[in-house]
Amino acid sequence: MTIHLKYWKQDGPDVPGHFEEYTLNTVNEHMSFLEMLDVLNEELQLEGKDPVEFDYDCREGICGSCNLVINGQAHGPKAKVACCQLHMRNYKNGDKITIEPPRAAAFPIIKDLVVNRGAFDRIIEAGGYVSVKTGSAQEANAIPIEKEKSDAAFDYATCIGCGACVAACPNASASLFTGAKLAHLNHVPQGEVERSNRVVAMVDQMKEEGFGDCSNFAECEAVCPVGISISAIAEMRRDYMKAMFS
């Protein structure tokens, strides 16, 4: 099938970008979205043109590298799918597709559709861990954890760190990402000890990085490829206020 593409080109963080257009006639419905871009790049190279850069790695929806905003939706039209697992059968012959990078001050553009998400690393660095040294752990079964709690912790821990939540948020807030890590660690007793310090450190870092405020749009939950609930944000707020007033 034929797809009309319009994609963002930008040479670096401080130079202005622009859209380029290309009509691709060799799209197959079984291709993944990123494979379609591979084919685009092959054609561009054979025509001596500059390929478009985009981030990817595992292509099975778990590494969180890919983070395209497709027709104004992070990861494209399908719910609970990263764009590496979005297939072209979700499009029709002749469709027009606009591809943009996630846009946020905290995610400066490196090139074209590739952005720097180091801010996420720094949020984790601020406190997204349990301070246990290698070798100092006790017997794994020493502390039983309610299955329900452990399952809930998993639901939050499944965040792939792609940044779709930031991309889609009208305010470019990182609350879902931050809240998910907090909720994961707070649901297990091992994380409980550092609960207060962790929430303050991570929330403050989020602001430091230049992410916006959360306005409860819940768009983050809608675009999250692993379906993390905004209840993570609710927990984060409560813990933060508790930590500040105790």
Partner: protein, 232 residues
């Protein structure tokens, strides 16, 4: 208490305070409509109610100052959060659309800043309109009091005033239908089921309370407001 200042200035605190002030303002709305509805009572009921308020004296100023603070704080937070998004996303998308599903992006949520601004302007006009409007006098239990009821009935005979009030109050429905849910969400409502219920409650609250507000000018306009509004 520096941690208190830090807390309410943090990204979490700002939203929590927006929620708290929002809930305060909603409680005020409930009080306000309850008072307004006395206009349907005995001919003196409404004026007795307003006189009671006026007789509070200095306490009324304290309440008014508190309300003004809530309004201002709520407004400042709203504007500040709205402005911060430009800083967080200096270059916007050329194309943007919601993904639906669990998203709460709607006409109501996206227009909070606009409906809020209109409400703010309306509020100023509304205060000028009634608080500082024509000072008719009446007698209640042999004591002279302000006849606010007469002013209300006179004003709501004017087509443009009624249209304006009804128009603005309809916008408040939008603001409240998201604001009510959002306030509880900001105050850490966790579970998905609760979230759904509160969204329903949010719609119900917005519609019921605003229909009550809207009912008064419309009723007066269409019935002419003669005598007691309800015949005994």
């Amino acid at each position: 208490m520096p941690s208190f200042i830090k807390a309410i200035n943090s990204q979490v605190g700002r939203k929590v305070m927006t929620g708290i002030t929002g809930i305060g303002l909603m409680l005020f709305l409930i009080g306000h409509i309850a008072g307004n509805l006395t206009i349907f009572g005995a001919p003196d009921a409404f004026n007795i109610y307003t006189k009671t308020l006026a007789d509070l004296g200095p306490l009324l100023y304290v309440i008014e100052a508190g309300l003004a603070f809530f309004f201002l704080y709520h407004t400042i937070l709203g504007v500040s959060i709205w402005r911060s998004r430009r800083k967080a996303r200096p270059e916007g998308y050329k194309k943007y659309q919601t993904k639906g599903g669990p998203s709460h992006q709607s006409l109501a949520s996206k227009s909070m800043i606009y409906t809020g601004s209109i409400i703010l302007v309306f509020l100023v006009l509304h205060i000028i309109h009634f608080k500082f409007g024509a000072d008719y006098a009446t007698m209640i239990d042999g004591v002279e009091a302000r006849d606010l009821r007469r002013l209300v009935i006179e004003e709501f005979q004017k087509t443009w005033i009624v249209v304006g009030y009804v128009g603005v109050l309809s916008l408040v429905i939008l603001h409240l239908s998201h604001g009510f849910w959002s306030a509880f969400t900001s105050l850490s409502m966790k579970s998905k089921e609760a979230s759904k219920k509160i969204q329903m409650a949010s719609y119900a609250f917005a519609i019921v309370i605003m229909l009550l507000f809207i009912f008064i000018p419309l009723y007066i306009y269409f019935t002419g407001g003669e005598g007691s509004l309800i015949s005994y």
